[in-house]
């Protein structure tokens, strides 16, 4: 059976690519520290020597739209074009082409449906920065086949937080039951407190540093009990109007397992958001 060699959760800040590649006067003062942290984070994936990446993210109204909105969707295609005109325009993100791992996509769909998740699927999916940002930060060669999984954290009505956790727990079981010798890393990105298009956006820190502090603690300690006690669809409005993206972190806590402490934790307090980076090694930390 396949093995999960790393579980990784992080924020996906679309400005990283531009900040880290900027030079001279265009280079923001925080770029060097940010790049250092990303390179250290990247090493946690590289050390695990993955063959395949399962990538959990959320389409930001690019391909998925309100006339036909899935709650959870699995890509099943040989290739995925990536990044969109408005991401090029606003963030300077490059166009990319990623390879798909269709066999694992098919396995996740079949086993997920049989486990009680009525997963939608797409045979032609153009993915966005929720998935390409972690490719850029963690595997910039973009040389590994992927299975994209999209969640709806964006267009209410949304699934309940516990459903994200349950899907994460199922993804763990399903990937580990994939008849393959390949080494799989499961990578998911979301947000801590975040405000977009509201009065608290683009402040000197994330909109709710206290939420961020607690959220990082929940994730680092795998404290799903406390997290699920505190977090509801209603409560997530308070830290910032785009904070429902935190449910993708909760999904990743489900993949990592209740009570399992992260092997690697790092954060970076930036304008607009707190960045956060977590890695778990389900089979123990890889030796060098």
């Amino acid at each position: 059976m396949a093995s999960i060699v790393a579980v990784i959760a992080s924020t996906h800040h679309p400005f990283y690519y531009r900040a880290s590649t900027a030079t001279g006067e265009d280079r923001p003062p925080f770029a060097d520290e940010w790049t250092r942290k990303i390179l250290a984070f990247r090493e946690t994936l590289t050390r695990a020597r993955p063959d395949v990446l399962v990538m959990v993210g959320s389409d930001h109204f690019h391909q998925l739209w309100l006339d036909n909105m899935p709650q959870f969707l699995v890509g099943k295609a040989p290739h995925y074009d990536a990044n969109w005109y408005n991401e090029e325009r606003e963030f300077g993100l490059p166009r990319m082409l990623l390879t798909g791992q269709e066999d694992l996509s098919g396995h996740i769909l079949r086993a997920g449906l049989d486990a009680g998740f009525d997963l939608a699927f797409s045979n032609e999916l153009r993915i966005d920065h929720s998935i390409t940002c972690p490719i850029i930060t963690l595997r910039p060669e973009a040389d590994l086949p992927i299975v994209p999984i999209y969640t709806n954290i964006f267009a209410p009505p949304l699934p309940q937080p516990k459903r994200f956790v349950q899907l994460g727990q199922s993804i763990r079981d399903i990937v580990e039951s994939w008849p393959s010798h390949l080494r799989v890393a499961v990578i998911g990105t979301g947000h801590l407190s975040l405000e977009l298009g509201g009065p608290r956006q683009f402040g000197p820190h994330g909109p709710d540093p206290e939420f961020d502090r607690r959220a990082v603690e929940w994730i680092a300690n795998g404290d799903l009990d406390e997290c699920l006690r505190e977090v509801t669809l209603d409560s997530l409005h308070s830290p910032g109007n785009a904070t429902h993206g935190f449910m993708d972190f909760m999904l990743m806590m489900g993949v990592a397992g209740a009570g399992v402490k992260a092997d690697y934790v790092d954060t970076l307090d930036l304008f607009h958001t707190m960045e956060a980076y977590f890695t778990w090694y389900p089979n123990g930390a890889p030796t060098a």
Partner: protein
Amino acid sequence: MSRYLLNKFLFTVDRDPELVERYRSEPRELVAWWETERANAVLNCHTGEASTWLRFDDVEREALATHDHVKLFELGAHPFLTLTLFIALFERDNTEPLEYQKSYGARLAHFSMPYPDIAT
């Protein structure tokens, strides 16, 4: 009231560079054209098929025609869609980084929790 149609306008204009420019330079004309020609297009469908019932009310039409992002927020347009499109329209006029983004937030400062409902 149709939050969905407001969102559909923001979504379809934002993804088309030509429409972004037309919306910046001639917002009232673009909104009128869009409502006539595009409001009823079924997006994920063969061309030639269309809906028949979608139209703005006067408040929505005026908010779009006047680039009134504060009103759009109040009406429950999706804040991500509004922000993304308005950055495309106006960030180019910045004289310092994030100037437009910060002033956009400041103009919404009178809103307190809970914010207007965005469910469609």
